[in-house]
Symmetry: D3
């Protein structure tokens, strides 16, 4: 059915089949009030040396997550084609308009890139980018690494992850890549609602797909950036694209066995997380309080853990709204 | 000269001279398009027992800093008048419109409360609040504790601080209160440009004034909230308003000897802080890089430390603009 | 065809098959810049006692209409399950984001709930809510009462209404429920363009569907709220869900026989309605004037009645734009 | 001191000393991004016949109040200079930018015209208009009539009013003009905080000053517009500028004896006014409820009358914020 | 397939089959927060005399282009039905909401009218207008003239144009009409990506379609307006709808042979076009510079011509963004 | 009196007394929601060689005028200190926040730099910049050249200008510098309302002050940029700071003898200028028409010339508002 679609309007200024390091753009025409003949210029780097496997490396799927872009802009600048066997395609900021704005979604169409797949060549800007990955970039890849962090509104323990998949061979390859990444934590994820995700798009095409959550809050830390940089090199080594041994460090595997991992706020207010990330939590503990702020003297709403584990993610901003996820607990395995 | 000013338009719904715990409002009439006869309702709590000294405790001077409001809303809810000798006035969110919006400055007039003193009774909403503190609340206080953190755009090592003052008796009392607060770090600050600050307003009236920076990023951590809660109780004990011993813990005193502490970005881009808060830095070290993001393959701008010390504060968001302070270094003393 | 659709993403926190009164939410996951893992929390109340008929009661289909939400929040709070035979499902604010904002349409996607049916499970927030009503709530109902008023931009005589339908048995049941509601006025409506309406969605499923227009201007009056409260109890009694007699009061039936009922402005300006709601109007009378406001001394544009009747609705704000409906006339029958 | 001020930048296109009817503008230069050499063009009409007294008639002091502009645009269009003895100066929309936007305050500078007096010739746009009235128009007038209504956020019983003044002769003249206006209600107002008001500016210059509140909600009704039109003609007859008898109708005098007239909301929510305008209220009655809307099943906050009287004004929109005035009670005298 | 679509919601107030000159509206119902029963009122003029051919004349396809609307509002006002044989349908501002706002796209839905065809009767406002042209207006026409200029962000040499078409008879008729228009320049365009264009919609229905680019910058000049007015009369004469000879003037034919005509900016900054419109350019010449503005002393980015010709269009605003088209070169033929 | 003011908060990163070419910033601390410790970084270049006279060269006084910034960024990049005798201080974009936004006024405070003098060290950002020029830069200068163009909303014939001054020696020096600039046109300006202007601030300090209007529309043309570049070099040669002869070309002197030069619109609409810049106009000619756009068939409002001369400036955008200056006529002398 995809073959019936119009061609993509995106024009790359790089040649995917040329050896060497190229720094260019995916140019996406975008007519708007402040530029009738304007374009979105998404930076792309292709580093190729011969006919080995292809890794597709992406950050900025959400525009307010920085470990990925920091690792990938540096990799693009420093990776020598001589050290490569095959091809490394680097798009450090997939949802480039969102990345420029420092927001999760695109300021142009409020598109959430990770819910926009498979995209449309005649859709919104976000859908056109998704379509280009779906039909042009993913088919070129053997292994796909997509960096995430918590963004401005969530904070995570740093982990690398892959999905539990129906094809156990594919799943095994993905977990092996996660192991190679060597983040402080590693996660096996069971995706309940996978519709529209880049992850699913890649996996449905049979690719080895690895992702991360490496912090959050709309910033990065020196420590988490180091994790990202070591991880991406480890994955390239693991894939045989860069020579050398994977630099392993111990990782703690985590599991999120059910929806009881998640705690949602039922009232808005000022949120206080009573434990920090990585701290142990017992079922029934108060993990967070939501304080009413319209007057003093009111008792806070308590949010209790529905399972025992460690605090793995939390709402980041000091204010919270009804319906926001306040805390996530995972189990050490 | 102040006696010539018009009376404040603010009407308190609490009686500052009544014993017991009162939860009320400072009601500030504010006519606007969506409410011709509206008001700003600033929560205030007065806990009084007899004729001892008065502590004025404030948070939310900047609206995106949470350790103070979290400590003070709880204190207002839990402090028993029977445990008090004197008066505790608690305004957990001074710039209440900013606090409600989760922003540093007021969404009404973009007023920065800490540059609005002494305020004006016929000025903007922010200036009217400042005037009320200047003429009504500060004169009632013996000791003033004003909580700050880094807010959404800065992150700090947790410290309590007071200013170097011309009146050395007043200064000594303030540093004694800082010592009592028992934050992990303590700071002696020399204010270069003190115009408009609440700090200066209090100090000029001869008050013992103590402030903090307890984290940042527009969030709070369980750890820093514990520091804030212990600190405010320690200050009340130190002032003789609450009975009992100050709970001391070790603190590291810091100094910011010159303008060389501050490093500013000269170009905008994606910022990477190469060391984490509390890490040692040597003069000449690269403390931060600013990466151009318009294309791959470009060398980052390096920001080098102008002095040796520890990283004490940093720009928080992943993106930075020209002119933003990227890093602050302080010296351990 | 609907069976091919994805399941709804909405998770109710109430159990529709449990006896008693439950106060909960329809939780609709909504990822956005200010909350990556946020949700819309739509209040819902289920009051059930055994296996009798089910009434589905809704307000806030448009977010700036208040008689319905006022009647339904109170009903949810006060209706005793012991007084019920069957089930009462109450959603006092269908388009909850619009209701929170006080606007006709949703601030999230500008969705007009009453043009969004049958909705889509993978559509906008408004479409997801419509889909939930279409596939989950409407099928449970025997009788449906949806409250409307004029909102911020229209004002109506208070009436209850049902549609002229091809199925005369269904129509007769609906008009009987209108009669039971006992509003000051009652209306037989012929819907010309029924595409996307909740009304049509309910009627196409064979439900008895009753609606109202009970005032407007983005406010409520004590009088119209009393009409709404009496009306909803009357409908529940009429349906046999609550015991007791319908409290009847006289009603005046109205008819809107043709498009000549509506008068539109062809120029913008300051509008003056020359008669008040309920006043008689003769064909050819000037019902409204539009005054140019760019200078004094200019003759107003006159809008004349195209039929004889009473003024039933009018443009509410003092300014009007070209294309706005200025006045509606109905005929007493 | 005023004589030291710079001259006004406003240029009138009418000649105040010429007989006949002139329709022109007060042109106020206003340089802005969308027009470097733009101006605000405030419509003004001067109708003069010989050397009798001068009435200054204004509406649109707040931009969302319509009875005044409707009466005055019509008066400007229809008043024949032959019927005048003296001068009638009509500015139907004082805060013209606010009037064009349909908002209480100016969209240019958020200026509330009735808190901007005496204005400044080098201030904001609103202050420049106020200064022009202060120094150019008020000195020409013998009697001043300024129309108000409740605007979008308040609704009033229709009344004409004047202030209790230290100069009892001036006060008596003003109440005589109120009596002549012949609104359904008449009010004696004691202004507590008169700073910045047009009323005060006129009264301080010794003028007979009359004002009104004639409805509200950001609309007008046929009934209240008739009150306004009759009232302005009555005032002109009373002043001897137009010949003929004042058309009197009965009026009910009201008094607002203390701050207990006003009830403020302490929590936001959905407001329900339990009595309608003009209904009697007894001390202790619940006049309004504020319903929490975040979930069903919660008891509303009740607002009780602090005195016995009739409901004279109320908050208009269906939603209310903490600090908004919910209800005003006045006493019949 | 179009026959399965719902009928258009647009109601015209003109009768296309009535002789004489009619000035009316296409009324498009549009419910929104500030008018529940509002409409978009698109001006339309029909001038008919008997049964000759029909010309459909449009401007304001993009809302910031003025030569077309200026020519067509005047034509509608001045063309005498007696001078017509057949029908002239004039819509001076197709995308009327965009035209009112002075923006390229619609402020309602950001719709680009020239990418919205064939439109949808149940789509956005822009799509509903496109659908009306597609199904109601285009079928009535024999010849279609659609005026464009560069808008606020581009500036063009003034030319009239038609497309190279597969049906050479249709193409020949179109170029004959271009010749008749007699603009200073004439262009043969090969459309690469014609999806969604009004041009394509008309051509696919077999109509003779002529378009223009007559200047730009969001303004008009006396000279280009004269070109537009003469051109439209010439086209009507050429089509036999108005009697008399075409007023010919010399025209220079241009060709845009390949994508090398277009030069795009790869960095944002302050743009300087080194030649003016109509000036000759040689392959390799620097046609534009982009100056970095964050500091002085930096070399500009040079944009060089990829072919020899004349400068035919350019970016208009002083600032440029990465991806904007900076310059267009065409070849004289 | 100025000596009583606080010191400027602006910190320059250049040394005004050092020989050579320096590229730096005026750093103005600016605390805001998105950067608590942010700054505005205004580019400045100082080129000095020994002790000759000082020229202060500025552009971007209004942020949407480009000939000045284009000439001055280039001059800063290319002027060799060896070719200088004295000092050249270049600030290519005075109101740098406005320049970055491409708007006339500052997006921070809507400040119009040319109405902000003498500024305030504790005022808005725009006032702080003005104060720095007033107290720090102007006193260093002997000759001041400030570039203007029409900006986005006006278009001018290209001219250089100086003011008629009470000090005829100062005036003569200024006109000599205008003559040296050698623009196509030269203007003697009599400033009616000079309050707040940079021009006046410089002249009051006794400086030789020269300004320009070199086009407009928010763009630049190759021709006008060449005029600007030649002009600034000519002024430096004329001042003896750069060696060599002034490159003279013929100039036409113009005069604006009275307020009859200016024509203002009294109604908004679509504007058509009937003559182009530089065309002759006779008293009584229609110079512009304003077309109503709400429907077809309406006669335009005509604006007639009040004097004979040439069209010297015009409103630029296609739409116009009441009060906008539509056309300016000057007299050739």
């Amino acid at each position: 059915m995809l073959s019936m679609l119009r061609p993509t309007p995106i024009v790359p200024t790089v040649d995917f089949d040329r050896d060497g390091a190229q720094h260019g753009f995916l140019r996406l025409p975008y007519s708007r009030d402040d530029s009738a003949w304007g374009s979105v210029m998404i930076p792309i780097c292709v580093i190729r040396n011969g006919t080995g496997p292809t890794a597709l490396l992406t950050g900025g799927n959400h525009g307010d997550e920085y470990e990925g872009p920091l690792a990938l802009f540096e990799l693009a600048r420093t990776l020598d084609p001589k050290d490569v066997s095959g091809t490394v395609i680097i798009v450090p900021a997939m949802n480039y308009p969102a990345f420029q704005a420092g927001t999760r979604t695109s300021p142009i169409d409020r598109g959430n890139m990770n819910r926009a797949f498979p995209g449309r060549p005649d859709g919104t800007v976000t859908e056109k980018i998704a379509d280009y990955f779906q039909r042009e970039l993913l088919p070129r890849a053997n292994i796909v690494l997509d960096f995430h962090s918590g963004g401005r509104t969530l904070d995570f323990l740093p982990f690398c992850a892959a999905h539990i998949l129906p094809d156990k061979t594919q799943e095994e390859k993905a977990f092996a890549a996660v192991e190679a990444f060597s983040a402080p934590y590693s996660m096996k994820m069971l995706e309940i609602d996978a519709v529209g995700m880049y992850d699913t798009a890649a996996e449905d095409l049979g690719k080895v797909f690895v992702t991360t959550e490496l912090g959050g809050g709309g910033t990065s830390r020196a420590h988490t950036v180091r994790v990202a940089r070591r991880g991406v090199m480890n994955v390239l080594r693991h894939a045989g694209i860069v020579a050398g041994e994977v630099e392993t460090t111990p990782t703690q595997w985590l599991d999120m066995p059910s929806g009881d991992c998640f705690s949602f706020a039922e009232e808005g207010g000022m949120v206080e997380t009573l434990v920090d990330l990585g701290d142990p939590v017992k079922e029934g503990d108060v993990v967070a309080c939501i304080h009413a702020t319209s007057r003093t003297g009111q008792a806070p709403q308590e949010i209790r853990a529905k399972m025992t584990g460690i605090l793995t993610a939390r709402h980041f901003p000091g204010l919270i709204k009804a319906g926001d996820c306040a805390a996530v607990i995972a189990v050490e395995v």
